[in-house]
Amino acid sequence: MIPLSHYLILSAILFSIGLYGVFTRRSAVGILLSLEIMLNAVNINFVAFAKFMAPHSLAGQIFVIFTIGVAAASTVVGLAIIVAIYRNYKTIFVDEIDVMKW
């Protein structure tokens, strides 16, 4: 039986990878991909805790499905924004899109 801490470590590693990706990728699409990795790390946490803390409840698993669905939807919105940005600025590198500053 694999102990809970293994799952949590895996999840932490995945989350860190995702966070690193979000911080360092120039491409907006890359950032989105990294965000998905972070979300999956969270999902693993959910499932793991559900398994070990409340084995007879399915709440954790169902929540994960929710998360996946919402993540898909938010990704769609994000991609749509990226497409719109690309049409206007001819780039998807976030360091070149700096209209939000003063």
Partner: protein
């Protein structure tokens, strides 16, 4: 028919409205409009007179508005006095309007002239029909306005504009008295209705002091003094000659000066009840009459002679009313209306024909203007009191009433005035129509529309007196009845009246036909008297010196008071206001604005610092958020 009395003033009013609004388009048709309207009024007036003679009278009134316990009413009153006046006014009015067709031809404001005439007659008819003092006052003022409009009809001339103003202002002085009088009466009696006033005074005089009644009567008489040009407010009437001659005829005969006498006759009950009021009326009457008569002796302007003659004759009517000769005064009002209108229209024809107004320049016009001269002769005979013309009968009644009052001085003065009247009228007649032409004047014959009114008026001047003569049993004084009067003819009075009239005529004949040198010699020998009369007793000058100049000085003083004190105070307030606002402006600019700017500066500076945080790079933000979360977790965990 009496029920339709209210239609009488409405016809001229309609004519006025039509001529004012559409007169420009009607052009010369504005005269027929006015005349047709007058014809309607005249017809109704005559029918009403017929019914009133048969014994019908009518008073109708409606409540107009109510203030507290006082109720104000509007209405009309048809009784012998008003019925007679209605006929006289409409008859003279229509004749004057017909005459004006010829006289005013070619005038730029032809239609307006007829509009004003209609309004004038409307006002007078309304005044006659009024059944209470307040309504009378309203129409009274309307008459004043119309006289102003018509006297200054040729307002391009300064003298005409001044005369209009003079007439209006002088009248206003009297009107103020009238208003006070009617207010007094209304306050003490609670009604302004003539019938109710008479009733109250006749049956319930208790609770009313003699003083109050005398005061009210004298104040009302002030109004009459103004309108009927009695001393000391007579000065406007001679100046009113600046207006077109038909207007003079109308003012002198029917619509204006008659109003004063009519008012006294209408409110006679008040005068009879007041203690000294009738004496005041008769003394003012005799002063006016004598003064105006003597002025007329030496005047040379044909219209001014007639004007002073009118003033004098109005004084006569006042004497009659003052000595209790109610019907005599009203009778003279009627006959005078006819022959004075006639004389004025004759004068108008003469002026129209030869273009001058000074009788010294005329002479020998008889052959050239037969109709005018003949009718003028009739008018002069009538006013001089030669039997059997109308003036004789009315003047005789006045003399009789003065004689019966027992005041011998008054009687002698009245006879003297009768003598002067005959003299100056025939002086005018002889100088104008007889003798040799003194100057070469280009005469153009008057139009037939100007002759016919003269003929009609001449007929009335001859025959209108018979209604009051003993032949018809003094029908007039029974008709216009106030209280029993002495009417039995006194032969002494009658004969003396004829004698002074004829003597006046004879003297005029001697002076101006037989030996024309006498007047000049007399004028030279009695130059102080002559100058006194020629300058109209210097009354205008006295008024100018004693009233107008001080008043002007007062207004100048008031002006400078206004200018320096009031304006100064206002300017001071303004200046101090400006100074205060300067200080306030400084505070606003440097302190309030400074604070606001300071806040803005601080905020700006802070923004300058903190905007560095906002890089626009999304990853920076995420990093910050992440750091923040980590920090918060730590804080939650360890604190």
């Amino acid at each position: 028919m009496v029920n339709y009395a209210y239609l009488i003033p409405l016809f001229p009013l309609a004519a006025f409205v039509i001529n004012v609004f559409w007169g420009r388009r009607l052009k010369s048709n504005s005269a027929p409009v006015a005349i047709l309207a007058m014809l309607g009024s005249l017809a109704i007036s005559c029918l009403i007179l017929k019914e009133v003679i048969a014994g019908k009278t009518l008073e109708q009134s409606w409540e107009w508005f109510k203030v507290g316990r006082y109720s104000f009413e509007a209405g009309f009153l048809v009784d012998p006095l008003s019925a007679m006046m209605l006929c006289v006014v409409t008859l003279v009015g229509i004749l004057v309007e017909i005459y004006s067709i010829g006289y005013m031809r070619g005038d730029g404001r032809y239609h307006l002239f007829f509009a004003y005439l209609s309004l004038f007659i409307f006002s007078m008819l309304g005044l006659i029909l009024s059944n209470n003092l307040i309504q009378t006052y309203i129409f009274w003022e309307l008459v004043g306005v119309c006289s102003y409009l018509l006297i200054s009809f040729w307002f391009e001339k300064k003298s005409a504009a001044d005369a209009g103003k003079k007439a209006f202002i002088t009248n206003r002085i009297g009107d103020a008295g009238f208003f006070l009088g009617l207010s007094t009466l209304f306050y003490y009696l609670g009604t302004a209705n003539f019938a109710r006033i008479s009733q109250r005074l006749a049956h319930h005089p208790e609770g009313l002091s003699q003083g109050v009644l005398t005061l009210a009567a004298v104040l009302i008489f002030c109004g009459a003094v103004g309108k009927s040009a009695q001393f000391p407010l007579h000065v406007w009437l001679p100046d009113a000659m600046e207006g077109p001659t038909p207007v003079s005829a109308l003012i002198h005969a029917a619509t204006m000066v008659a109003a004063g006498v009519y008012l006294v006759a209408r409110s006679y009950a008040v005068f009879a009840a007041g203690h000294l009021s009738l004496e005041v009326v008769s003394y003012i009457g005799i002063i006016t009459s004598f003064m105006a008569g003597s002025i007329a002796l030496v005047q040379t302007d044909i219209k001014r002679i007639l004007a002073y003659s009118t003033v004098s004759q109005l004084g006569y009517m006042m004497i009659a009313l003052g000595t209790g000769g109610y019907s005599a005064g009203v009778f003279h009002l009627m006959t005078h209306a006819f022959f004075k209108a006639l004389l004025f229209l004759c004068a108008g024809s003469v002026i129209h024909a030869c273009g001058v107004q000074d009788i010294r320049q005329m002479g020998g016009l008889f052959g050239k203007m037969k109709v005018t001269a003949t009718t003028c002769l009739i008018g002069c005979l009538a006013i001089s009191g030669v039997p059997p013309l109308s003036g004789f009968w009315s003047k005789d009644e006045i003399l009789l009433s003065v004689y019966n009052s027992g005041n011998r001085v008054l009687y002698v003065l009245t006879l003297t005035v009768a003598f002067m009247t005959a003299f100056y009228m025939f002086r005018l007649l002889f100088l104008t129509f007889f003798g040799k032409p003194r100057e070469k004047l280009h005469i153009h014959k008057p139009a037939p529309t100007m002759d016919w009114p003269l003929i009609v008026l001449a007929i009335f001047s001859i025959f209108s007196g018979f209604v009051g003569s003993p032949f018809l049993g003094h029908a007039f004084s029974h008709f216009i009845y106030f209280h029993p009067e002495h009417v039995e003819p006194n032969h002494m009075v009658m004969i003396s009246s004829i004698i002074v009239g004829l003597a006046g005529i004879a003297l005029a004949w001697v002076f101006y036909i037989l030996s024309p040198g006498i007047p000049a010699v007399l004028a030279k020998n009695f130059s102080p008297v002559y100058n006194l009369l020629l300058n109209k007793y210097w009354i205008d000058e006295i008024y100018d010196r004693c009233i107008i100049q001080p008043f002007l000085r007062l207004t100048k003083f008031a002006f400078s008071f206004d200018r320096y004190l009031i304006d100064g105070a206002v300017n001071l307030a303004g200046t101090s206001c400006v100074a205060v606002s300067r200080v306030k402006g400084w505070i606003d600019k440097y302190i309030v604005d400074g604070l606001v700017n300071l806040i803005a500066l601080v905020v700006g500076a802070l923004g300058e610092v903190f905007r560095r945080l906002q890089t626009g790079l999304i990853q920076n933000y995420i990093l910050l958020i992440f750091t923040g979360v980590v920090v918060m977790v730590f804080l939650l965990r360890f604190i």
